[in-house]
């Protein structure tokens, strides 16, 4: 395995730069978890469940279906990149307030899909929310609360956006402070 030539790549995760030397067969899901982004969950590994969803240049994708080398030069945002426990993103806050987190395993992926949806459609109908989250499975089956959470988040984000003085707050909310250090690894 180690005889396969490793490849040098660079990517950004939640605002941190990572220079990595990766195996050609490395999968983005595993790379992210190995880097410590364990909020990206490993569910089915066949693109069915959405627990591993991340934003890749703003688009929600299953990280289990991306080779790490395909993320070279790409900007990744995970659930933890949207907010922290102390400063949650309005979507994360809405999930907590609406009781949309049961076992919690699907939540990071759900939040990512909700973020991608609301970025494009700030006022989605219930149908549009269900379609927007259609790649994410919740085995606790708490879909009702999850849909309510996205409605609530949409409402709050619209309100934030309409307040002229809030743009700075919003920006702070949108980007969590970068903790930890970026990695720098060079292939031989």
């Amino acid at each position: 395995m180690s005889r396969k030539k490793k490849i040098q790549i660079a990517l950004t995760v939640n605002g941190r730069n990572h220079e990595l030397c990766v195996r050609p067969n490395a999968v983005l899901l595993h790379t992210l978890r190995e880097l410590g982004y364990t909020d990206v969950k490993n569910g089915c590994e066949i693109g069915e469940c959405g627990a591993c969803a991340v934003l890749m240049n703003g688009q929600a994708v299953n990280s289990c279906m991306v080779l790490t080398i395909q993320a070279d030069g790409v900007e990744i945002v995970t659930n933890a990149g949207l907010g922290t426990t102390g400063r949650p993103h309005p979507i994360q806050e809405a999930f907590a307030d609406a009781g949309a987190v049961q076992c919690g395993f699907c939540t990071p992926g759900m939040v990512i899909s909700a973020k991608a949806l609301l970025d494009r459609n700030p006022d989605p109908s219930e149908e549009e929310i269900r379609v927007g989250l259609s790649g994410n499975l919740c085995r606790c089956t708490g879909y009702g609360q999850i849909v309510s959470a996205v409605h609530l988040a949409a409402e709050r984000l619209r309100e934030l956006a309409s307040r002229p003085s809030s743009s700075q707050d919003k920006e702070r909310q949108e980007t969590a402070p970068a903790e930890g250090i970026s990695s720098h690894e060079v292939c031989d």
Partner: protein, 284 residues
């Protein structure tokens, strides 16, 4: 952990085609939504994977005169949103809406969906009613193959190992053309097709049907056109009896491996419903 393989990341189409000439056993990867599942399951065991992600030529949608060309690496998400597609070939946006789910659509590509040649590939039926050709390029030449000749059997196409599916091309349907697409699966969304059906009809100013297309996916080992059914509609002013006749011919045309009675009934009923709707639209 995936089995080990080597990767090449060509920056241009020419480089990619050269690589496929030198290493005909190499497997191209675009969105990876089929390939990574197949590698993980052991169905495919490539030694070399050629990543097409950096090849911009494969990501374009462009119009040349009356012809539309969709690059092989254009995603299903793009088909759903692209204004040119929505205006010139809305059936592709309709198909993309029912394709898997948002997360998959953001990665899955048109070329990958066709070249993988799963019997339930949703894009096949929709592109068949557009009389689309696939463009297959190798380092030596580029050829065009009608999509209706592209599929050989499940998961096998006429694409040679040194060729890439670089684009899908078709003539933009006239303004008097109306089309419909419907997918039947176990759920409304995020499911594999039990049946895909696409219809397109062109009606002239004296209400005669100039062109009829009916294509069926997931209902036979490969996606097919129901040519007998199409012929009963062409050259006449289709009335209800003609639509019924076409629908039952469409139902007879399929060769499903399993659930044949169910699929025949679905195809018959949907062909009737979609043809009626499309004929109304085209006449309006």
């Amino acid at each position: 952990m995936l089995p080990a393989f080597e990767v090449r990341r060509p920056g241009t189409l020419a480089e990619a085609l050269k690589l496929l000439t030198i290493m005909p056993q190499a497997t191209p990867i675009a969105g990876g939504t089929n390939l990574l599942v197949d590698i993980r399951s052991g169905r495919l065991t490539p030694n070399f994977v050629v990543d097409l992600a950096r090849i911009e030529e494969l990501c374009c949608i462009h119009r040349e005169g009356n012809e539309l060309s969709i690059g092989g690496a254009v995603t299903l998400a793009r088909l759903l949103e692209d204004p040119v597609i929505r205006q010139t070939a809305p059936i592709l946006a309709e198909m993309a809406r029912s394709f898997a789910n948002v997360l998959i659509r953001n990665r899955a590509t048109v070329g990958g969906n066709l070249a993988n040649a799963a019997p339930c590939a949703d894009s096949a039926a929709a592109l068949l009613v557009l009389d689309a050709d696939v463009e297959l390029a190798s380092a030596e030449r580029t050829r065009r193959v009608p999509l209706s000749d592209f599929f050989v059997r499940p998961f096998e196409t006429v694409r040679q190992s040194n060729e890439l599916l670089t684009a899908v091309r078709f003539s933009i349907p006239s303004r008097r053309t109306a089309s419909r697409f419907e997918k039947v699966g176990l759920r409304k969304i995020s499911c594999m097709a039990k049946v895909d059906i696409a219809v397109a009809v062109t009606i002239d100013e004296v209400s005669v049907c100039q062109r009829a297309r009916i294509a069926l996916g997931a209902a036979s080992p490969i996606a097919i056109r129901a040519t007998d059914a199409e012929a009963t509609l062409e050259g006449q002013k289709p009335n209800e009896a003609a639509v019924d006749k076409a629908a039952s011919l469409a139902a007879e045309s399929i060769a499903p491996r399993t659930g044949s009675e169910y699929k025949r009934q679905v195809v018959g009923a949907l062909a009737r419903r979609l043809l009626k709707a499309a004929l109304e639209d085209a006449t309006a």
